[in-house]
């Protein structure tokens, strides 16, 4: 069973981007609103933003839209929550990081290295019987990579959960180019 691809393929998955005050207890308040309704959080990423007073929590949940609307409204009532946006997967850029240690005898190691190179991933560590690789990219790409690695025997795997920002529309992209910020 590949639970990883579930959130990316399942239509009920929603990405919430929640800007919160960077304070103790905030994460518990936010996650508590999902827990008390029996909703599972699929992935969650938290880190401070450009303003160290604020953190951004990116939450992926698979909930139908109607109950989600109520959770979002309740989230917004939390005193520490400053802003919430629901990101439409089609109109946002999503990134995630995967790290995996794969058990592979020295003679087959080349195959894993090759696979990692094809995906433009990195080799982080090499041992006699195992290799640790990493890959960042869209969650879909990570799903595919993980699937292929499985064939070799994954010893340990960690994904960060996705972070996301809205896609820039054309106008905004052009503006960014003018300011020399486009990459």
């Amino acid at each position: 069973m590949s639970t990883n691809s579930y959130a990316s393929s399942h239509p009920a998955h929603h990405i919430l981007s929640v800007l919160v005050q960077n304070r103790p207890g905030v994460l518990a308040r936010v996650s508590g609103l999902f827990a008390r309704r029996g909703y599972n959080i699929f992935s969650l990423a938290v880190a401070p933003t450009e303003d160290p007073m604020l953190s951004r929590i990116t939450i992926v949940v698979d909930v139908e839209s109607a109950p989600l609307e109520q959770v979002v409204k309740q989230l917004f009532k939390l005193v520490d929550v400053v802003k919430i946006s629901e990101l439409d997967p089609r109109r946002s850029v999503e990134r995630e990081l995967l790290m995996a240690t794969v058990r592979v005898p020295a003679e087959d190691r080349g195959q894993v290295v090759e696979l990692t190179n094809i995906f433009e991933g990195k080799i982080l560590a090499v041992g006699v019987e195992a290799i640790t690789v990493s890959l960042d990219g869209s969650p879909d790409k990570l799903d595919d990579f993980e699937e292929l690695l499985r064939g070799y025997g994954i010893v340990e795997l960690q994904r960060t959960g996705r972070v996301a920002l809205p896609k820039l529309d054309k106008e905004a992209r052009l503006k960014a180019v003018k300011h020399g910020k486009a990459s």
Binding site: V20, Q21, A28, R36, Q70, K73, K77
Partner: protein, 584 residues
């Protein structure tokens, strides 16, 4: 102004600056440092017999004054004893500040004596809570707490204060309004309604043929009773007042239909059901009001005014959602309607609707079979007598159960803030402490608590508090020897299989118990004794009085919309059933 004081002194000074006149509480190890400066403060402390009592007293105080009630207790078991009142206040949007002691910051997380994760435990039953980690933060956090508790949709806020934070010294600084607002970037309650929505609401109101004003507790929170009355009279439209809104519109007003819902009267229930426009003001489509949601008021358009955006569309999609303070929004709607009328628009003729509603009222008054001589005393009769004997302006509190529903049904609430009850959580044991808190808030008023024999036994010890602190209240126990409401459900829905609902007619001896707590105790067993007992109780105002009414155990609350039933299928009193067809 670089004056050094302790965190505890800062706490008490901050409470004084927030105009706190009373704290309900009980000390213990971790909160000890805060009780010392209290000795030198003008704030009155009321020492309770159980922390739950402190919480309900703070609620009762807040109910009748509109100001936040304050409770202060120690850590661990005292904090857990506060969970019920916090949840109660949260459900009924009562402004309340709860201060708990905590083990020293260095001991947090070590399972220290009387340590519990108070902010964790109370997170989902408070509007907000904070663990204060530095004495310097005390004034700002107190100001934030009062601001959050009293603005937007009111609610309880808890501050957890570790002992060392109370003991440490700090530099006093009282933050300005601006500092408070800046420190809360995520908290911006809306108060003014959207002008376009208000216009739309006004137009919809003029176009409605069968409108009903559906008034909830938000009217009282927003102090909007006068505005509601003006609106109702302007559009000549009947008003229903929910359990939380009793008194928000005078019961003796010709437009008042009284309480809808599970034990509402048939007219209020049916008028909502048949309405084509529910003008919803500070109400939240609670399941006790709607019955089966899918069949609730099927033809009604919905205007929904609520200060809490999360209430919009939670149960029923509104046609016109208006987020804002009820009073401000109603005043704007009145203005918008007057503008339309001045511009030559006309309100639909609703006289046919009103006469239909009057027809229901005539056919379906509240009903109970009157006492025959020698028969057991009817609880409804006791309530009618209490009501008729009550001095002007009496505040009525109640517990939870049959007696609560009869109280709401049979009392005449003609003034806002004269009804104190536990609506959302339905907390047995609420009434005695809430009545004490109400009496502290309004010492000029007579305060009656109507209680069940079951409820009374949960918090009665607070009558000791009332006696010692000289807070004279009056308690009417409707003693039916049963957990009556549960008995009623077992009779009606479990084939009269009574399981664990029988209390005892003789135990406890309520009169002796009352006397042992410094109160006057009176027992009433027959209809003739009712009036004299009430008269006597009303004549005593130097101590609390407990009147035990031994009432008919078999009496049931009607009408009733059983859980999961449609409001169309409201069960009337069996004696009224032959008239059912008139409900169409």
């Amino acid at each position: 102004m670089t004056q050094k004081i302790t965190g505890a002194q800062a706490l008490i000074r901050a409470l004084e600056l927030e105009n706190v006149d009373t704290i309900f509480g009980l000390p213990g190890g971790c909160i000890l440092p805060a009780y010392d400066p209290l000795l030198d403060s003008p704030i009155r402390h009321i020492l309770v017999r159980h922390e739950q009592g402190a919480g309900h007293m703070a609620e009762g105080y807040a109910h009748v004054t509109g100001r936040p009630g304050v409770a202060m207790v120690t850590s661990g078991p005292a904090a857990t004893n506060m969970v019920t009142p916090l949840c109660d206040a949260y459900m009924d949007s009562i402004p309340m500040i709860c201060i708990t002691g905590q083990v020293p910051t260095t001991a947090i997380g070590t399972d220290a004596f009387q340590e519990c994760d108070t902010v964790g435990i109370t997170r989902s039953v408070t509007k907000h809570n904070e663990l204060i980690m530095s004495a310097d933060d005390v004034p700002l956090m107190v100001r934030q707490a009062f601001h959050i508790a009293t603005t937007g949709r009111p609610g309880p806020v808890l501050l957890d204060l570790p002992k060392d934070v109370l003991q440490n010294s700090m530099t006093w600084h009282w933050p300005s309004d601006e500092e408070v607002l800046d420190s809360l970037p995520g908290y911006k309650p809306v108060s003014k309604g959207h002008p376009r929505m208000i216009k739309e609401a006004a137009r919809m109101i003029l176009d409605a043929k069968q409108p009903i004003l559906y008034a909830g507790g938000g009217i009282l929170k927003a102090r909007a009773a006068d505005a509601l009355r003006e609106l109702a009279e302007l559009i000549d439209t009947p008003v229903v007042t929910t359990l939380m809104a009793r008194g928000a519109f005078p019961d003796d007003h010709p437009l008042c239909l009284g309480m809808p819902g599970m034990h509402g009267n048939a007219t209020a229930i049916t008028a909502m059901q048949k309405s084509d426009l529910l003008i919803t003001l500070g109400a939240r489509f609670d399941d006790r009001i709607t019955g089966k949601v899918a069949t609730f008021a099927p033809d009604a358009k919905i205007i929904h005014v609520d200060i809490d955006p999360a209430e919009q569309g939670k149960v029923r999609r509104p046609d016109v959602p208006i987020v804002g303070d009820c009073r401000l929004v109603i005043e704007e709607i009145i203005k918008a309607i007057k503008d339309l009328l001045n511009g030559g628009e006309k309100q639909q003729d609703i006289s046919a609707w009103k006469s239909r509603v009057s027809g229901w009222r005539e056919q379906f008054p509240l009903y109970y079979p009157t006492n025959e001589p020698g028969e057991a005393l009817k609880p409804q009769y006791c309530l009618e007598q209490l009501r008729d004997g009550a001095p002007e302006g009496t505040i009525l509190c109640s517990g939870v159960g049959q007696h609560q529903m009869w109280s709401s049904q049979y009392w005449k609430f003609n003034e806002p803030y004269t009804w104190v009850n536990s609506g959302g959580l339905g907390t047995m044991g609420f009434s005695v402490p809430a009545a004490i808190g109400a009496k502290v808030g309004r010492p000029d008023r007579t305060v009656w608590a109507v209680d069940g024999d079951g409820c009374f036994q949960m918090t009665a010890q607070e009558l000791v508090t009332a006696s010692v602190e000289r807070i004279p209240i009056k308690v009417a126990i409707l003693n039916n020897s049963y957990l009556g409401m549960v008995r009623q459900w077992q009779e009606m829905f479990y084939e009269e299989r009574y399981s664990e609902v029988y209390l005892s007619p003789e135990l406890p001896d309520f009169v002796k118990w009352a006397e042992s707590m410094g109160c006057i105790g009176i027992r009433v067993e027959s209809p003739e004794e009712v009036q004299p007992a009430i008269e006597k109780a009303n004549s005593i105002d130097d101590r609390s009085v407990v009147v035990e009414f031994r009432v008919d155990a078999g009496e049931k609350v009607f009408p009733m919309v059983p859980a999961g039933f449609s409001n169309d299928d409201v069960l009337l009193h069996p004696d009224q059933n032959n008239r059912r067809e008139f409900l169409r």
